[in-house]
Amino acid sequence: MPANIVMPKVGGYDMESATLLRWLKREGDPLQTGEPIAEVESAKAVIELPSPHTGTLLRALVAEGTDVPVGTILAVVALAGERI
């Protein structure tokens, strides 16, 4: 089953939302766990978001420059070994 990547609470203890500045991976790109996939900006910091999964980026659901709440699904990943 494909897995989701959600907007994590990474930029401040009281972070409620963050802006997806830039995708560092495109749809169809392979992903390794821990590899940066996007740059996000919270009220307090700009952070590179590490991939929580190894697999292939199927769909990027959030456009660059969009501010989204914590927990929003940012992308869908086909896990390693999964047929797309």
């Binding site: 959600v6 994590p8 609470k9 990474v10 930029g11 401040g12 203890y13 009281d14 972070m15 910091a45 952070i47 929580p52 709440p69 914590v70 927990g71």
Partner: protein, 321 residues
């Protein structure tokens, strides 16, 4: 000890992932990378011994015998949590297992643990009291008062510094006058040791010595357990005050891998056995998560219950109406 460390690792990972996705209420601090301190010390303890923890205490509670289900339900604020959902991540308490409570106030548990130690002594038991605190608590004045008093009163107290080198974002050597808190043992006339706390056997050995001394009536000890946290101070901390290389070098010294290699080298465990324990620890935590998710939230009308004794509760209710 190997199994317990893996249980903590998995529980902390689940907690981190859920908090990171905004699914847990309040602030959440996990102890990933520091498991050997909780397990190494608590493995020397009996049910009647008591533990006081910090804001980062899921691991201590689990190592002291609290059930993963009750801890996970507490983190989610559910009725079946060990504090019935009133406490949350920073107040994991399970008195039946000797987990007296945790305080999120830096160094706040040190006085409480000395009180527990005094109680053990006055009741003429050979139980011991353990206080886990972080390196940040060494900046609190109450720590030095307790050190003095515990020594003078020969309290059965283990002061365990779960030293992850950072007080939030401040590296401890920037603010600490001494190089190790175990150096304070000599002036306060107690026993102390600095241990490599990514090696659980060193932690266990030092904790055994300290607990034996306390049970014999030889008074308190201080252990400086030097380790490293793999995550930010709390969920939400991007950890930009330390380098990726530093983090990586500590991850190479994973306390769980260290024990696995030690056991496998002596043929006390094989790869298949280790993999099985790994799977069982994962399953235990997955069960705890689904148990917690199915546990109800406390009803709003329960909000006052268990907070105050009944007469005070009545006054509050009168004020409300």
């Amino acid at each position: 000890m190997y199994r317990k460390m893996l249980e903590i690792r998995n529980l902390e990972q689940s907690a981190y992932d859920m908090a990171s996705a905004g699914k847990l209420p309040g602030l959440v601090h996990v102890s990933t990378g520091q498991e050997a301190v909780a397990v190494g010390v608590c493995s020397t303890l009996r049910l009647e011994d008591t533990v006081v923890g910090t804001h980062r205490s899921h691991g201590y509670a689990l190592a002291k015998g609290a059930s993963p289900r009750s801890i996970m339900a507490e983190l989610m604020g559910r009725q079946d949590g060990c504090c019935k959902g009133y406490g949350g991540s920073m107040h994991v308490t399970d008195v039946a297992h000797g987990m007296l409570g945790c305080t999120a106030i830096v160094g706040g548990g040190i006085g409480m643990s000395a009180g527990a130690a005094l109680s053990h002594k006055l009741r003429r038991t050979d139980n011991v009291s353990v206080c886990f605190f972080g390196d940040g608590a060494l900046g609190q004045g109450s720590f030095y008062e307790i050190l003095n008093m515990a020594s003078k009163w020969t309290l059965p107290l283990l002061l365990v510094c779960d030293n992850n080198l950072y007080s939030m974002s401040t590296r401890s050597e920037k603010v600490q006058a001494f190089s190790s808190c175990s150096d304070l043992a000599s002036p306060y006339k107690i026993w102390g040791a600095k241990v490599d706390a990514n090696n659980i056997l060193e932690v266990y050995q030092a904790a055994c010595t300290a607990a034996d001394r306390a049970r014999r009536g030889d008074g308190p000890s201080i252990l400086d357990c030097v380790t490293y946290r793999w995550t930010g101070h709390g969920v939400g901390d991007p950890g930009i005050y330390r380098t990726a290389e530093e983090l990586e070098s500590w991850k190479m010294r994973d306390p769980i891998n260290h024990l696995r290699e030690y056991l496998i080298a002596r043929k006390w465990l094989n790869e298949a056995g280790a993999a099985r324990i790994d799977e069982e620890a994962k399953a235990l935590v997955a069960d705890a998560v689904s148990f917690a998710e199915s546990s109800p939230h406390p009803a709003p009308e329960q909000a006052w219950k268990h907070l105050y004794s009944e007469p005070i509760l009545k006054v509050y209710q009168e004020c409300e109406s």
